[in-house]
Amino acid sequence: MNEEKKVAIKKIQATGMMRKIMADYFYELDKASKEGSPKIAWCTSVGPAELLLSLGFLVHYPENHGAMLGATRTANDYIPVTNAIGYSPDICSYLTSDVGAFIKKETPLSRAYEGIERVPKPDVLVYNTNQCRDVQDWFSWYSRELNVPALGISTYRNIGKIENYNLESIVQQMKDMIPPLEKISGQKFDIDKLRHFLSLSYECTQLWKKILEANTAIPAPMSFFDGTIHMGPAVVLRGSPQAVEYYKVLLKELEERVANKEGAVEGEKFRLYWEGMPIWGKLRDLAEFFISLKTAVIASTYCNSWIFEAFDPEDPFMSIAQAYTEIFIVRDEYYKEKYIEEMVHKYKLDGLLFHDAKTCPNNSNNRYGMPERLEKKLNIPALTINGDLNDLRCYSEEQAKTNIEAFVEQLGAK
């Protein structure tokens, strides 16, 4: 009776549709890569994707590929390869696992999708430093290796109130990108096309927001761990009708769960927030563990980071600048604390989990005393788990699980 109870994660029926549209997306990229047309841009996950789509590029997101390396638990085969060429084990493990896989000419795409042998070859690399500086170094490596231009946007960071000068700078940087991008794609920039893709992205983002907000219901219909998988289309297919259609289906299913009071966690007793990156290689394991503890992790900064409410087709450049600047990771500590506080109230949370991801300081918000400040302010407990997004050497399974279990015991103590 003392073995960890075997539990089953409730299947989300829409998953099949998601797999199909994701497969179509990767095959389309692969075909373009093999045929040389349309042109392919690599873009950071909160980079100016809509601008690239409007110029006729297909867009590949290396962070999505990094997450696949983590989720398939192959990242640790590749991180040492990149360490060996001078990239520290302390820097972004998306970077080190992705570059290492490239050097070894391997990709989880080839295991998931028959016929795909490589990641799609880029014609241009476009980054936005709104997340971190590592993306610039990451894309610069490919730029040197493949002799492909890297174009970037530098975003102000640690922002409290967003000022016009923060945004005007980004608007100008985006506009400066257009001539070289036109040259590479062979297409003239058309602002109406940009408006079109922005409308689709906005629709996608609104649906994704409603999906996440379904978890304000008690019990919550979807776990954070489900969310990290189902956000795939919001990341790589935003700006497409497929993502919009998919999220309509997913939203309907979750609304049905809410109506039927069907929670992702059977007998939900506690509701927690996940702050920071997922531990990709342990998603299923942690999802099952939390189910066994009757504890639902139901709200997160991470999944919310792909809500871009500012998108406005009437004012495309300024609204893109606004949307990609106002995300959590770009903001100052005061804003972040206020944001989490609002989430605690909105989702009726009992506690906060902070993931201290060893190689992702920008997305580890426990390091400057925030959990302790929030504990005092909100009068709910916080727990920090040491781990990493991809590098499982930084994660101690037993230690993490004992901490989580003790935290839940504390929540349950009278």
Binding site: N2, T402, E405, Q410
Partner: protein
């Protein structure tokens, strides 16, 4: 009379305690955990039954804790060592306090309030610095028996500072100090000081302080060093290494509807 058993399967040692319905400790034992947690738990349970005072019935309710808690197939329930340490500590010191537990491979800071409710905890990060494993490794490098550390540290006449965090780098640093002619007893006191520093880094350590764990049980001088550093008296239960097992036994009693443990 029913008996309630707490078994704490730790990374280094396995501890078992039997208590009765009046919360009296009837017997206890400590064995090495080794590589077979189930066997260690059985051995500790058997020894505890054998050395128990007075008549002990064959009816037991067993609660397992510690890293190996899920390997104890004969346990009726499990609970984390963090909850069990808090429970055991509050049993001996029933007032609000902060517990420092230094175990074989982890150290914990646990806060309990006036009613014994755990209000927060911290564990060492994924690193053995400041734990029993750290002391074992250094003792091994210095060719000093682990049981001699306490006496040697007490004899040190001066304090030396160990700057390294990592166990391996500490060993390297010690080589430099050996070359400088620093005596072993002073090196040992230096590594005790390193253990103190690791704990101080984990939490501000305010209010009443209790210390438990195997490292404290075998190295009481470490408590003196903490007292000196914090400038206050530190409370230590009579069987510091068994605090988690006592807490587990109290939870077992509670689970069976005994006294409000």
């Amino acid at each position: 009379m029913n008996n309630f058993v707490g078994i704490d399967v730790g990374a280094s040692t396995t501890k078992a305690v039997i208590i009765d319905e009046k919360k009296e400790i009837r017997g206890y034992s400590v064995v090495n955990s080794g590589a077979d947690f189930e066997a260690a738990a059985e051995e500790a349970f058997k020894k505890t039954r054998e050395n128990a005072k007075g008549k002990v019935s064959n009816k037991f309710f067993v609660l397992a804790t510690g890293y190996g808690r899920r390997n104890v197939s004969f346990a009726d329930q499990t609970k984390t060592e963090i909850s069990c340490h808090a429970k055991g500590s509050f049993f001996h010191f029933p007032h609000a306090h902060t517990l420092i537990d230094i175990g074989g491979q982890d150290s914990k800071i646990i806060k309990v309030n006036d009613s014994g409710k755990r209000i927060g905890f911290k564990m060492n990060r994924k690193c053995a610095a400041g734990t029993g494993a750290f002391l074992e490794e250094i003792a091994n490098r210095l060719r000093v028996k682990i049981g001699k550390l306490n006496e040697l540290a007490k004899k040190a006449e001066r304090n030396i500072q160990i700057g390294s965090y990592c166990t391996v780098f500490t060993a390297t640093e010690l080589l430099t100090k050996i070359r400088e002619g620093i005596e072993v007893k002073e090196l040992i006191k230096g590594i005790f000081d390193s253990v103190v520093k690791r704990a101080l880094e984990m939490d501000p350590l305010e209010g009443n302080i209790v210390m438990t764990g195997g490292v404290v049980a075998y190295n009481p001088f470490l408590v003196n060093m903490f007292e000196e550093k914090l400038d206050k008296k530190i409370f230590v239960p009579p069987l510091p290494q068994l605090t988690g097992a006592v807490g587990a036994a109290l939870y077992a009693l509670e689970a069976k509807g005994g006294q409000n443990a």
